[in-house]
């Protein structure tokens, strides 16, 4: 138990009579990339919000570094070290890379009552950190809007890591990206994990998830269909589990029947 960095045990969430999540369990070690797969409506966004501290689970517990934790707000989750990067990235396209990077956590300088935003230091750090990912930010005061989707995703992740994330929860990081940009982001995720972060990668795209994931949890209609190590499952099996494989098989049989009858 204690070699898990974070455990989400038997998490359930109800909204009135609707069962959004029931008995979902995920455990991660340091450096592990767990892919959370599921089609739309499977309950992924509810689960993310519970992990991020927006919702409190109705059943189940969260254990972080061996201790039971309750989040009262997203800030609590952030303070502990669980950083969530949502699909909208929390980046303002009109603001500069630096201002976005340090949004809400700006470095200050100056005398006690006249503290100013230390832009020079911030520019330096932002350019440095982006360079470490391999993104050459030519001018850190350029607007984020001039960056590609992949670069922005990397900026959001880099920001989370810089501010001390131990667990990264990434919501559909590659869904809006082309093949090349998706691979840039995925490479960065692997690098982050190799530095000791645990990553929960939420996606509906198995082809992006399979190459980088260490373990896979499939969510279907609020329930977990199980967690599998990569060596124990194939890409095709994951796909069919996600799409409700048995139903598709049944449909195929029915269609064959219809064709036979009508011809």
């Amino acid at each position: 138990m204690s070699d898990y960095l974070v455990q989400f045990n038997n998490i359930s969430k109800f909204f009135g009579k609707v069962i959004a999540l029931k008995d979902v369990t995920m455990k991660l070690r340091k450096g592990e990339i767990m892919c959370l797969l599921g089609d739309n409506g499977a309950g992924k966004s509810t689960l993310i919000k519970t992990l991020a501290g927006v919702h409190k689970p109705d059943e189940g517990e969260i254990i972080f570094e061996g201790e039971k934790i309750i989040f009262d707000s997203p800030k609590d989750a952030l303070d502990i070290g669980i950083a969530t990067v949502y699909q909208d990235l929390a980046l303002v396209p009109l603001m500069s890379v630096t201002r976005n990077f340090f949004m809400g956590r700006e470095p200050l300088k100056g005398p006690p009552f006249l503290k100013t935003f230390d832009i020079e230091k911030a520019n330096k750090i932002a350019a440095e950190r982006m360079g470490q990912i391999g993104i050459d930010v030519r001018d850190p005061s350029q607007a984020v809007g001039t960056m590609s989707g992949g670069e922005r995703q990397c900026l959001a992740i880099s920001r989370a890591i810089y501010f001390g994330a131990k667990v990264l929860v990434l919501d559909e990081p590659t869904s809006a990206l082309g093949v090349h940009q998706a691979s840039v982001v995925l490479k960065y995720i692997v690098k982050a994990a190799s530095q000791g972060l645990a990553v929960i990668l939420i996606t509906h795209n198995v082809h992006h998830a399979y190459p980088v994931g260490n373990s896979f949890t499939v969510l279907n209609r609020g329930k977990s269909l199980g967690t599998y190590e990569k060596k124990n499952i194939t890409r095709e099996k994951l796909l069919s589990m996600m799409a409700g494989g048995e139903e598709l098989d049944k449909l195929e049989v029915e269609l064959k029947e219809m064709n036979r009858l009508s011809s």
């Binding site: 997203p74 800030k75 952030l78 969530t84 949502y86 909208d88 990235l89 929390a90 980046l91 303002v92 396209p93 009109l94 603001m95 201002r99 340090f102 949004m103 809400g104 956590r105 700006e106 200050l108 503290k115 100013t116 935003f117 832009i119 350019a127 440095e128 360079g131 470490q132 391999g134 050459d136 030519r138 607007a143 984020v144 809007g145 001039t146 960056m147 590609s148 989707g149 920001r159």
Partner: protein
């Protein structure tokens, strides 16, 4: 990894990153939100300089006149710009001006309060009104357009009703005599740099009265306040953490919240800002006219917003400039007075104001797309 960081450091030596095209300096400058407004202001001055150059518009007395109008508008335009950058509108500014004026006049004239106390009272009411506007917007999530539109009516109605109730009329005169010796009023009512004008008069560079004193006596208080507020708000926006929060709250309020920016507190403080700016405007005006009037300030919020838009503020928030709004106010102030020196019917001023706003919005939209063009 070390090769990567080396490439960052060697970037400065290189200067020829192939992705940096040779952008003309002018183009770079135009990317700044306030440059459009500055350009507009220069054009307006050139225009009137040529058309109305010898009419007295640019005499010392004439210039102080339109600068006073510009400065007054500028005070509320700057506050409206800050709020707009933060993602909200305040349509109740004009009604707050009327309300603040009455808050100063009625206690001073009818309840026998010393003037300085009435002024402090008015500013306290401003903080309350601003806080109320802010809390309503933040808690209900309703568009600030609607909330402050409602406040526009509520405040104006309350001003009219209370004034008529207490005084039986809609104006409260008699304040001028109270200004002398008042410890606070002078801040809003004193002309400065009088020595400069006396000297200019003595060497006959500016027009004189029949008794030898200069016609233009000094810089009006509105101009000093205007410059002071422009400097402070620009410093706040560009150099402080709070300024970054303002951009963030307007650019992406949910995202900002998620990374720990206290969006609610920022917005509430900005609403307090517009209410206080309205009160500064009202105090200057009431002390200048020596009276308060329940209808003062009507429609001023629209002029303030127009000036902010001309100054480069996006209506959707997250981008803009307080200095730009200041130039916008200068444009409107100059034109609104300049028209009277020509043979153009003054009703055309409204057409001009609307046209300028339209041009500014189209221009700003173009700039915004350039700034956020992704590869």
């Amino acid at each position: 990894m070390s090769t990567k960081s080396k490439s960052i450091q060697s970037k400065t030596e290189f200067n020829q990153d192939e992705r940096l095209q040779k952008v003309s300096k002018l183009r770079l400058l135009l990317n700044r939100p306030e440059l459009g407004a500055l350009g507009g202001a220069i054009l307006v001055f050139i225009f009137f300089g040529i058309v109305a150059g010898d009419t007295g518009m640019f005499s010392a007395y004439g210039m102080l006149n339109f600068l006073d109008v510009s400065a007054n508008l500028g005070i509320i335009a700057i506050a409206a710009a800050m709020l707009m950058i933060g993602g909200e509108f305040d349509l109740s500014i004009g009604s707050m001006i009327g309300f603040a004026g009455i808050c100063i006049a009625i206690p001073a004239i009818y309840w026998g309060w010393p003037l300085w106390m009435s002024i402090i009272f008015a500013f306290s009411m401003a903080v309350l009104v601003g806080y109320f506007n802010g809390i309503l917007v933040v808690r209900t999530g309703l568009p600030s357009f609607i909330v402050t539109l409602a406040m526009l009516f509520i405040l104006r109605g309350a001003t009219l009703a209370l004034t008529r109730l207490i005084t039986g009329r809609t104006q409260v005169p008699g304040l001028r005599v109270l200004i002398e010796n008042d410890p606070i009023a002078w801040i809003f009512a004193t002309d400065t740099f009088k020595w400069l004008f006396t000297w200019l008069g003595s060497i006959n560079l500016i027009a004189l009265r029949t008794d030898g004193t200069p016609l233009a006596t000094g810089i009006p208080p509105s101009v000093i306040w205007f410059i002071f507020l422009a400097i402070i708000t620009t410093w706040i926006l560009m150099k402080t953490r709070y300024g970054n929060w303002i951009f963030a709250s307007g650019g992406d309020k949910n995202g900002a919240n998620n990374v720990g920016v206290p969006v609610g507190r920022v917005k509430i403080s900005l609403f307090i800002g517009t209410a206080v700016a309205a009160t500064i405007f009202a105090t200057i005006q009431v002390l200048d006219a020596g009276s308060a009037d329940t209808m003062r300030g009507t429609l001023k919020e629209l002029e303030a917003i127009a000036a902010a838009v001309v100054g480069g503020c996006l209506l959707t928030g997250g981008y803009g400039s307080a200095i730009g709004a200041a130039f916008g106010a200068i444009i409107f102030g100059t034109v609104s007075m300049g028209i009277f020196y020509t043979d153009v019917d003054t009703d055309w001023f409204k057409v001009f104001l609307g046209a300028m706003m339209l041009i500014a919005v189209i221009f700003n939209n173009y700039i915004r797309r350039k700034v956020t063009e992704s590869k």
